[in-house]
Amino acid sequence: MTDGISTFFRYVPTRIVKALVSLPPDLLRRGNEIRLRRGAPVSLTAGDKNVLFDCSGRVCGADGAICASASELAECVSLVAGGSLYTCDEFVSHGYIPLETGGRAGVCGRALVRDGRITGMSEITSISLRLHRNVPDFAQPLIREYAKNGIRGTIVCSPPAMGKTTFLRSACVLLGEGRGIKRRRVGVADERDEIMAGVSQSGLIDVLSGAPKADAIEMLTRTMSPEILVCDEITAAETEALINAQNAGVCLLASAHAASADTLFRRPHIRRLAECGIFSVVAELSRDGGYKCLLREAEELL
């Protein structure tokens, strides 16, 4: 698991690294994302703040902020892709490039569409290097709930960048290593290599990475007989696979974007899953002065 934002400096052009290292140490320590945009200011995200800075590392507004040139962005993409972007075509078509150091870089630009499907990007104009946090006890409230009332299907929700993946990572390790609960077999459908990438663990965790979630869920259910199946950011495409898995007796722990638990079930596929009895518990995350998790019964929200 990464130690800090400085892990990404190897992927960032020298001029920008020089500015980054000149930033106040506290800001740098709290930083969890560096974002480069072609011809636009480079930003550092620390907590819920997006900070712009100049060449000498002074926090400033958009005027005078350090911008990434086209060649700097190309250099960053080349470094992220290990000097061979063509090896990442499949990933780029899903909007990211996996990093050597674990984790991924989100990419954005002009998409190439063939037969209504994104097949790649003809040019990349933004790149986001986001740190994967490891907060070992983040999912402890959920584990306590499981220990008390037994394992039940759970959906984790929050707006983007509030720690859904971090929560799932913590839950996987706690369940797999049996911390605060009996050891469980955990199957992880890690399509984008995010949940368990770089995590050193000694639990009963089987990870199927790189495969589409729907396929991974079916494969894991069939071949690894997990007691709990974990997957990130579920979409309508995985609904059937999740229902099948539930019918096979596997408990699901999944995440979804939502402004709040109250709005979560306005998403039709999530509502359908809840109505099928797949999710009994809703874990709502917030970053109110640290990583917080509020557990609610799905029945109350439906």
Binding site: S78, G83, L85, Y86, T87, G120
Partner: protein, 165 residues
């Protein structure tokens, strides 16, 4: 100066001129060899990129070619921490390439490793066919060209001998 000595000097001048001609024609052969070595490398790259999607750094490490090794091309490509387009253009500068071949390779080098698969493949194919056309033309013209270089140099030698002696 005795006649024998004059003839000896004239002979030496002609031989020297011939040797210079030989070295010029060897340079021409080297240019062709460089072109063909680069074409072979690009063919290999195209194959490895399209079939196994091997990353460029790994591909350069595994590739062997006596000519490219001898001129330090592969060493320059493998060494250093700079990005691949920079290393590629620096390595190309080490080869005895003609201007038009060098400009084709420079264009290719700029996009090396920074393009999606289909575009990378297309760019490689364009460069390979350009190098093929150039090397076919050179190969065809080479015998006549080397012959004319040698002839001209011998004639220069003779002319110099007549004027000086």
């Amino acid at each position: 100066m005795s006649l024998v000595l004059r003839l000896l000097c004239a002979g030496t001048l002609v031989v020297c001129a011939y040797l210079i001609g030989l070295s010029f024609s060897a340079e021409e052969k080297k240019k062709l060899a460089a072109l063909e070595a680069m074409r072979r490398l690009l063919e290999y790259m195209r194959l490895r990129i399209t079939v196994t999607r091997t990353p460029l750094n790994e591909l350069f490490r595994s590739y062997n070619d006596v000519f490219l090794e001898k001129h330090g091309f592969l060493q320059a490509l493998r060494a250093g921490t700079r990005d691949i387009p920079c290393r590629f253009s620096e390595a190309c500068a080490l080869l005895p390439l003609k201007e038009d071949a060098l400009s084709e390779l420079t264009v290719l080098g700029r996009g090396l490793g920074t393009l999606p698969l289909c575009e990378q493949e297309k760019q490689l194919a364009v460069c390979i066919s350009a190098l093929e056309a150039q090397s076919a033309e050179m190969r065809q013209k080479l015998p006549a060209r080397t012959k004319s270089i040698k002839t001209v140099s011998v004639l220069f030698g003779l002319l110099a001998a007549i004027i000086l002696i």
